[in-house]
């Protein structure tokens, strides 16, 4: 965003004049860039001929938006940011921060009132104001809720920062209860609340927690031991197929197969570990990438066992520790045992707590291991392998335990995944999944459990939330599907985070050895690209 005018002219031109000039430049550049991308589009007509479709209005819109953005940024944005750094001459104080001016109590109350009103009349809106406007009002409602939540977080930021772990775990434990409670109140029936909760618990809760767990597992390999693994999804696949095959062929219980799946994934972790012991960095990344692809190709081509790309279906559900089941035809179905109404939500809620427990187990083990010799050896290995060896650390076993431990948690998550889906196919274990998991680890800040959890919530929750943005159909037309833009969101988030915080959301590393007081070590003290 550097201003490229000479200082001589700078003193003459007012911000508005300068903004006008810059806006013209920006418009010319964006016109040049987008004339072929947006202005023209190749298509097929009915007789399969290639035709050129022109979209000049769209092009004009994009160019004008670019110019306006540049104009307002130079004319008002930059002077505002510069003013934020100038202290008041009389008081010597810096101006109030943007955040404290943005989060105001009257606005907070207004947002809550607006949200409540729109929730209460939510059902009647399309009838009252028409579909189009109702879509925008829904969006407004979502914005009001987000603003109110952001206000709460802003005002209690110190408290939240100090008690993040406790608050986070409590919120996660209470989440299904809250969802069912709120939805029951809204529909005035418990069963209705249960049915409505499916989307929130399954699509948001379970989906996010699976990725949290996978990212925490990968964090052991990448974040702690510093071994860049691009094929992590292979272990997820091993776990998933282990449960799918053993569960459906031998009828073994999930509770027996969960450790078995973990052990099998750990075994394959060691198998991968051996040939790559001498590799680091880019070279290691390529071999692990190949390993992930090998596992996927074996799953596709070994038809006799894996049923190829058609996948395995009819994978048994998890039971409530063998006491109750979640199949409504079974004599010990949970609804019959507890004498409550039949609902598929019980299984989802149970699965939610199961994956929550598994994820917390991963976190607990990671935290404990970091304080044990093997965890310290992993971190030292990431820093300097040669120094490790000369301190008597067996780097071979250290690397293998890192691969095995990380893979084991991938295997647990895989077994859970196949039990949740009831169906597995090689399509779920493509490279993109590895890339997403790795992106979450990097965005969150390598080695930081909290950062990774937040990154998983934002990225996976964000992509799921795209499905909720139905009002966009009113803007862009009926065939606009926001969820197709999730990769764009991912990419944008990565670029923004890497510009703004090159070490991820939480770049600081909590030391494991203390004399008197704990002190996190800020990322700003370390060079980028180290560790």
């Amino acid at each position: 965003m550097a201003v490229t005018v000479s200082s001589e002219r700078d003193t003459v031109a007012s911000p508005v004049q300068r903004a006008f000039r810059e806006a013209l430049y920006a418009g010319a550049i964006s016109l040049g860039l987008f004339v072929l991308f947006i202005g023209l589009k190749t298509d097929q007509n009915i007789s399969n001929q290639l035709i050129l479709v022109t979209r000049w209005w769209l092009l004009i819109t994009v160019v004008v938006l670019t110019m306006l953005g540049r104009f307002f940024y130079i004319a008002y944005g930059q002077p505002f940011m510069a003013n934020q750094k100038i202290a008041n001459v009389a008081t010597g104080l810096l101006p109030a921060s943007v955040a404290s001016r943005f989060f105001l109590l009257p606005a907070f109350i207004g947002a809550i009132v607006l949200a409540v009103v729109l929730f209460v009349f939510g059902g009647a809106l399309p009838g009252l104001v028409g579909d189009g406007l109702a879509g925008y009002l829904q969006f407004l409602r979502a914005l009001a809720v987000i603003y109110a939540l952001a206000c709460v977080i802003f005002y209690f930021r110190a408290y939240i920062h100090d008690n993040f772990t406790k608050l986070g775990v409590t919120a996660l434990v209470l989440y299904p209860i809250l969802v069912v409670g709120v939805l029951s109140l809204m529909s005035w029936s418990f069963v209705g609340g249960l049915q409505g909760s499916l989307k929130w618990i399954d699509n948001f809760g379970i989906q996010i927690l699976i990725y949290v767990m996978l990212a925490w597992g990968l964090n052991i390999v990448v974040g702690l031991a510093g071994l860049l693994d691009l094929g992590y999804v292979a272990f997820y696949a091993v776990g998933a197929y282990a449960y799918a095959l053993l569960g459906s062929h031998y009828g073994l219980s999930f509770w027996i197969l969960l450790p078995a799946a973990g052990a099998m994934a750990a075994f394959w972790g060691v198998m991968l570990g051996f040939p790559v012991l001498r590799l680091r960095g880019d070279y290691l990344a390529i071999v692990t990438l190949a390993f992930g692809e090998i596992i996927r190709l074996v799953l596709i081509n070994w038809r006799e066992v894996t049923n190829g790309s058609a996948g395995i279906s009819g994978i048994p559900k998890v039971t409530f520790f063998g006491l109750m089941t979640f199949n409504s035809t079974d004599p010990n179905y949970i609804g019959k045992v507890l004498h409550i109404a039949q609902s598929s939500a019980y299984y989802k809620i149970f699965l939610y707590y199961l994956i929550l427990a598994l994820a917390l187990l991963t976190a607990f083990v990671t935290i404990r291991l970091r304080r044990m010799p093997v965890g310290r050896a992993w971190e030292a290995l990431r820093e300097d392998e040669i120094a490790c060896r000369s301190l008597g650390i067996n780097t071979t076993t250290t690397k293998l335990t890192a691969f095995a431990t990380g893979a084991m948690f991938g295997g647990f998550a895989g077994a859970f995944f196949s039990a949740r889906q009831g169906f597995v196919s090689p399509e779920s274990f493509v490279f993109l999944e590895s890339a997403i998991i790795l992106a979450i680890v990097v965005l969150g800040g390598m080695g930081s459990l909290v950062g990774i959890a937040v990154a998983a919530m934002v990225m996976i929750g964000g992509t799921e939330a795209l499905r909720e943005l139905d009002f966009l159909k009113q803007v862009f037309g009926k065939d606009f599907t926001p969820e197709l833009y999730r990769m764009l969101l991912f990419g944008m988030a990565m670029v923004i985070v890497m510009l703004w915080k090159p070490r991820g959301f939480v770049g600081s590393r909590e030391p494991t050895a203390f004399l008197k007081e704990r002190r996190a070590v800020s990322s700003s003290f370390t060079k980028e690209g180290h560790g």
């Binding site: 310290r376 971190e379 120094a387 060896r389 000369s390 008597g392 650390i393 050895a513 003290f525």
Partner: protein, 242 residues
């Protein structure tokens, strides 16, 4: 010989690919001595240091430590024989705190003597205590060298190998570090084998010294004798004393 030989290097030859770096080197270090190995850039000093630690491995000759042949041992097992090293370039763990770096050094005993030994290191290098919660990578060069030596001492070594402890440090810090080494040797009887380019400081500190040229040990003797030797003076001590 009156003293017992702790480290005995006999006819060691080391290669990098096909290039011979060490050409039948004979060096021994007795219990309780400070032995200095001096030589110009590329003479093979650091290679000898690394060969003792098994990476790269010697292709010919034997290295014996306290009666055990360690020539073919993997590096981490050599370290477990209680040979500690402050390697070339210090190689401290940059993202770990001073405390954690010291912990890594004490890993051999599973931190049994950690508190006691850390206190000893802090007595030796009070500067480190001030920096205790700071990341290794944010320390100054001298502090990093102190940390590297401190980390090596945490393993309660029988033999301490120092590879160019004075490299890139201000003369005052070099003096502090050499004083600390002398102190360790005098009070705890620690055996030290150090490689140095700072020939004057190293030979003044050392009981005995060796001079290395092109992968061969060409001269040896007591530190005083070597300092007085006109050839050594001409080759390594021209250009002013430190």
């Amino acid at each position: 010989m009156a003293e017992t030989t702790l480290l005995d290097i006999k006819g060691v030859e080391t290669y990098y690919g096909n290039i011979k770096a060490l050409n039948g080197v004979n060096v021994h270090v007795n219990q309780g001595e400070i032995v200095a190995l001096i030589g110009a850039n590329g003479a093979g000093k650091s290679t000898l240091m690394m060969t003792i630690f098994g990476a790269p491995r010697a292709r010919a000759g034997t290295i014996t430590f306290a009666g055990t042949d360690i020539t073919q041992m993997p590096t981490h097992e050599i370290a477990r024989m209680r040979i500690a090293q402050s390697p070339e370039g210090r190689r401290i763990f940059p993202r770990m705190t001073v405390m954690e770096n010291l912990q890594m050094g004490a890993g051999l005993d599973n931190l049994k003597h950690y508190d006691e030994d850390a206190e000893k290191v802090f007595t030796l290098f009070p500067r480190l205590k001030e920096r205790i919660a700071q990341r290794g990578g944010t320390l100054s060069g001298g502090e990093q060298q102190m940390l590297s030596i401190g980390r090596a001492l945490m393993a309660r070594p029988k033999l301490l190998l120092l590879d160019e402890p004075s490299l890139g440090l201000a003369p005052l810090i070099v003096k502090q570090i050499f004083d600390a080494i002398r102190e360790l040797n005098r009070t705890q009887g620690l055996t030290v084998f150090l490689v140095e380019q700072n020939a004057f400081g190293a030979l003044k500190l050392a009981t005995r010294g060796y001079v290395m040229v092109n992968g061969n040990v060409t001269m040896s003797g007591t530190g005083k004798d070597l300092l007085a030797n006109p050839e050594v003076r001409a080759a390594y001590l021209e250009g002013g004393h430190h």
